[in-house]
């Protein structure tokens, strides 16, 4: 095992010397043909012999207690195999929102809480029978309206401690310029396209769970703990995952219920959550109320900043949306107050959805900066420049790498940001009001523990194995590129195997840590192999040159297959965070620039163009990294314009839990998106020098759109999304 924790800045020699030239190239995803031809098997696909189908029953009300469950009508339906509702191992809360779900309780946490699983010969029968199960309940006081609940100003949950440096109130009282406004964002659904689904079967006391999950190593432990069996009795498979967006970071109740059902009926069982049920059994991003306060001198230099929020969670959930996470290191100012308060509600769990904190926190801080710039009469980019911190403004730590100013400069130049931004509501193109806006983007960088096994096979090809997932992000491809780069192999000569807990534990996909951590483990394993190859070549590792399957040293060139000599060379790599990770402040950075047109009659907003420049450390694959960013930008546009999960405060039901009325962006909403990278390899981040990309694109994207809408119309909407009804009153008379 070649283990290297990040105790100091580090760049592996083999990576520095590599000559294959594949790492960083914008290659197509290597699993693409399998996906478009239907060969790639997702969690609900494939039919083990004897398969049975399941459907989950949820509580019909959102508060109170469960008194009993009547299954007689459901049981009588031909084709029903079993209805399970009294197994103490059955989860009640969403495992997604915490390490473990709540078991064996009659307390109703929210409407649609899982209480029974119906197993039948086909899916239609299972779902029909599920609708016939009668759940008898006793009402309780309900807390469905987040606005109406008492605020806990010292919540015991959440990973981000409150920060209160200096005396913000006093600084606000004395400052030449002050800003104090409140913004709100609604519930957001993670809305992955592939359903949350599981196929589970038992063989000789061992459970196999094929499930749609982002972090299968963690899933294995959670499932084992829930079922009260050893983790080595559980194998989790997720070779392909059709999107997760945070909703598949934990174990959904359907996975545990399917495993219980498979054990009870003695047959493999598969279950997929229907779209509407997904809103209830998968966590969502909490609504937020964000108060932003800024105190500045007359030149716009920030002296103090506050980002104080209120978010919601149910009685079971332990996640607290870390709203100010992206604001912490964004701007200077000694007085700093960042905290997030809590209201407890009887709604489905809130949890981590793509870029927890930044995705919504940037709506507050980046719209506030736009408003402050106008108040001061200075360009919004210039305001940000004047407030670029030299070290982390909270901790005082040095930044590992930070190219924010370059993102502003390059972005403004490429976008054609004018020297004088036109006054709000002043640019007209026919029936359209045209405006521009920008916002900064920031996402904290993490490296987590990850292992990988690399095998240089007898035929000179390489195999990479780890329990990493590819949730549509390009993981297969970047791992192949990493191993190919290190071992001097074309990508086609590298076989990558993922999504199986029998493989070495890797990072999983979440928190934008997957790519950097998993690729680093591969680099380290390959370093070991290079050492072995050097021995066989009678050369020092630094004298090896590897390219296209040949290794050269001291004037001699040998094919890898000949050097391996029959027995594969196997190596393990392992990385993890260390002293350097704590010594430095690490983040990915960027800046978004947007032009929108708002229909002067109706208030319909159409984004005309959007461009961003991003500082992400080493770019592992230009194409997949770009796709990650554009996906985030597209989502930011939808957050700005349309996405809004609506709660009926009378019942605790979601009003729009499907894609018909929960409006994600469609192609016609998204213009050409342009992405540029500033590539500075970050040796403090991880051995491969890559910072997180997956969640950066959404950070600030929606705020840039909202700022452009203001510039177009002169109407400042602080209650997101900016739907046309909120603009209508401020538009010119017809």
């Amino acid at each position: 095992m070649n283990e290297h924790v990040m105790d100091a800045a580090f760049r592996p020699g083999g990576l520095d010397r590599a000559k294959q030239g594949v790492l960083g190239l914008g290659l197509d995803r290597i699993e693409g043909p399998a996906k478009v031809s239907g060969v790639a098997d997702y969690a609900y696909e494939g039919t083990p012999d004897g398969i049975a189908y399941a459907a989950i029953v949820g509580t019909p009300v959102g508060s109170g207690r469960i008194l009993g469950i009547d299954i007689s009508a459901a049981e009588a339906l031909p084709g029903v195999i079993a209805i399970i509702h009294n197994d103490p191992r059955m989860p009640a809360g969403e495992a997604n929102s915490r390490a473990m779900p709540l078991f064996d309780t009659d307390v109703i946490l929210h409407l649609g809480q899982p209480v029974a699983i119906v197993v039948a010969e086909d899916q239609a029968i299972a779902r029909d029978a599920a609708a016939l199960v009668v759940v008898r309940t006793e009402g309780g006081e309900d807390r469905f309206d987040v606005e109406a609940q008492p605020v806990d100003t010292a919540p015991k949950i959440g990973f981000l401690p409150p920060i209160d440096n200096g005396d913000l109130d006093a600084v606000m009282a004395d400052a030449a310029v002050t800003f104090d406004r409140t913004y709100t964002t609604p519930v957001h659904f993670p809305a992955a396209l592939e359903p949350h689904a599981t196929t589970a079967w038992w063989e000789g006391g061992k459970l196999t769970v094929r499930t749609s999950n982002q972090v299968i190593g963690g899933a294995r432990k959670t499932i084992a703990k829930a079922l009260k069996i050893d983790a080595d009795k559980v194998r989790v498979l997720a070779p392909y995952v059709g999107g997760g967006f945070g909703g598949k970071t934990g174990v959904g109740p359907e996975a545990i219920l399917a495993a219980i059902a498979a054990e009870v009926v003695g047959r493999p069982v598969k279950v997929a959550l229907p779209r509407r049920q997904t809103a209830y059994m998968v966590h969502h991003r909490s609504h937020t109320t964000q108060r932003i306060r800024i105190a500045a001198d007359a030149n716009g230099v920030i002296l103090g900043m506050g980002h104080e929020s209120v978010v919601a969670q149910n009685d079971d959930g332990e996640f607290l949306e870390p709203v100010p996470f992206g604001t912490l290191p964004l701007y200077r100012g000694d007085a700093r107050r960042f905290k997030t308060d809590l209201v407890r509600v009887d709604l489905p769990a809130s949890g981590a959805v793509r870029a927890p904190g930044e995705a919504v926190g940037t709506f507050g801080v980046e719209c506030a900066m736009d408003e402050l710039a106008e108040q001061l009469g200075i360009d919004p980019i210039e305001l940000r420049r004047r407030n670029e911190p030299e070290t982390d403004p909270v901790s005082g730590k040095p930044f590992s790498t930070r190219r924010m100013l370059d993102c502003y400069t390059q972005g403004a130049e490429r976008f054609g940001w004018p020297a004088n931004v036109p006054a709000p509501g002043s640019v007209r193109d026919g029936k359209w009001l045209v405006g521009i806006g920008m916002a900064a983007s920031l996402r904290g960088n993490f490296t987590v523990e990850a292992q990988a096994r690399v095998r240089l096979e007898a035929d000179g090809r390489a195999t990479v194995e780890c329990d990493m997932t590819d949730i549509g992000t390009g993981t297969y491809t970047i791992l192949a590129q990493t191993a190919g780069e290190m071992l001097g192999l074309p990508v086609a000569e590298v076989n990558v195997r993922l999504g199986d807990t029998d493989f070495p534990p890797s990072a999983g996909s979440g928190g934008s840590f997957g790519a950097g951590s998993a690729c680093s483990a591969v680099v380290l394993a390959c370093e070991d192999i290079l050492g072995e190859l050097a021995l066989r070549m009678n050369a020092a590792p630094e004298d090896l040159s590897l390219h296209d399957g040949c290794v050269s040293a001291g004037g001699r060139s040998v094919k890898l297959a000949d050097l391996v000599r029959g027995e594969p060379i196997v190596a393990m790599g392992k990385t993890g965070p260390g002293v350097e990770s704590k010594r430095t402040s690490q983040a990915s950075h960027g800046a978004h620039f947007v032009e929108v047109a708002v229909n002067a009659v109706t208030g319909e907003t159409r984004v005309r163009r959007m461009l961003g420049v991003f500082d992400v450390g080493r770019v592992l694959n230009r194409k997949t990294a770009t796709s990650q960013i554009t996906g985030g930008m597209a989502w930011g546009i939808a957050y700005a314009l349309s996405e809004e999960g609506i709660v009926d405060t009378r019942t605790g039901a979601f009003v729009n839990p499907d894609f018909g009325e929960y409006h994600v962006a469609v192609n016609a909403d998204i213009p050409q998106l342009e992405v540029h990278f500033i590539e500075e390899i970050d040796d403090s981040a991880n051995p491969v020098g890559a910072k997180g990309v997956g969640e950066l694109g959404i950070s600030g994207a929606g705020a840039a759109v909202a700022n452009a809408i203001y510039n177009a119309t002169g109407v400042r909407v602080r209650d997101f999304p900016v739907t046309l009804d909120k603009l209508l009153e401020g538009l010119p008379a017809v």
Binding site: I125, K431, T602, E604, V655, G660, E661, H663, V666, L731
Partner: protein, 326 residues
């Protein structure tokens, strides 16, 4: 989904005979019915598949009009050269609806019969007089952003979701049907839809087992045509407000006007008072304002859909400016 039996008759006459139980439904494209069956909003015990019947032709009639088979896919109808040339408002309305995939499957007859997209109609746990007569209306007092401001009752405030039907209402279409007893009927689109009143479950004039076989469009009328759909996203969203307009200006005076509206009422909406406010007048903002006032005189908002009233006013005035060149 409830289990159901399935028949695939060879002729329309056989199809209406196959609808022999109250729980039977015709299915053509299935783009709406199947979704509703999966949610158990619709629970037919029998499906009569009419999708292969010989009703997919568009034919010109001697009077200059078009007869459209009930099974003509929305995509084909939108692209038909006669429709594009003479009934532009219909082509535009069709293309403003749904997605390419759905338009390929959805039939002309089925489009007329789309069920409402009211949030509470879809939620089988909610009260809905349309889904379950007598259960109440969760939309009143609830979230009702996409729902109706015209023609509502205390029992239902659902909107009709079709774009195509709005254009057909402006075009004075006629719906041709075949009844179970073999009789044929011709029903003006103006008599086809029903206001909710206290029976919101009854949405149109069709009798049990009656099959739409054709839709007739009268000979094209003079005038500039436009379909303006206002929606929350650029595609794949139902109309918040839509306007189908056919307006003819002669010698500086509005000679004829036909206006229908989507997103506002429980049916594709048409109000003769709107047209009366226009015809015979020289196009002007004051005249357009009067038309909007006539349209919205009885409009009633239910909270989250209040904005539809000013939105409809603004959209109508802007559309009238476009089609009159004023």
């Amino acid at each position: 989904m409830k289990t159901f039996t399935y028949e695939k008759p060879a002729t329309p006459e056989a199809a209406v005979k196959d609808i022999d139980t109250s729980g039977a439904k015709f299915i053509a494209g299935g783009t709406n019915l199947l979704d509703l069956m999966k949610l158990q909003v619709e629970t037919p015990d029998k499906l009569v598949d009419i999708s292969r019947l010989d009703l997919a032709k568009i034919e010109e009639r001697e009077d200059g009009g078009l007869t459209i088979g009930a099974l003509v896919p929305n995509s084909d109808l939108a692209a038909d050269r006669r429709v594009v040339a003479k009934y532009e408002v219909l082509s535009r309305a069709l293309l403003a609806g749904a997605s390419g995939q759905l338009r390929n499957k959805a039939s002309t007859g089925g489009n007329l019969l789309q069920r409402t997209r009211c949030y509470y109609f879809y939620d089988t746990a909610a009260a809905c007089n349309k889904r379950e007569p007598g259960s109440g209306c969760s939309a009143i007092g609830g979230f009702n952003r996409i729902l109706a401001v015209l023609g509502t009752s205390e029992h239902c405030i659902a909107t009709h979701p079709s774009d195509m039907a709005v254009a057909m209402r402006a075009l004075d279409a006629t719906i041709v049907t075949l009844k179970a007893d073999g009789d044929r009927r011709r029903i003006s689109i103006h008599d086809f839809y029903r206001l909710p009143g206290d029976t919101p479950q009854i949405e149109n004039a069709l009798e049990a087992g009656e099959l739409i076989t054709h839709i007739e469009l009268p000979a094209p009328v003079k005038g500039k045509q436009e379909y303006r759909k206002v929606r929350d996203r650029a595609s794949y969203a139902f109309a918040l407000v839509s306007v189908a307009a056919i307006v003819d200006v002669q010698d500086g005076v509005i000679a004829s006007a036909s206006l229908a509206f989507g997103g506002l009422g429980p049916m594709p909406w048409r109000n003769p008072a709107v047209e009366a406010a226009l015809v015979g007048k020289a196009p002007s903002d004051a005249v357009f304002e009067a038309a909007a006032t006539a349209l919205l005189a009885d409009a009633k908002g239910y909270g989250s859909n209040d904005f539809k009233i000013p939105l409809a006013r603004r959209t109508l005035i802007a559309t009238l400016r476009n089609v009159t060149g004023a």
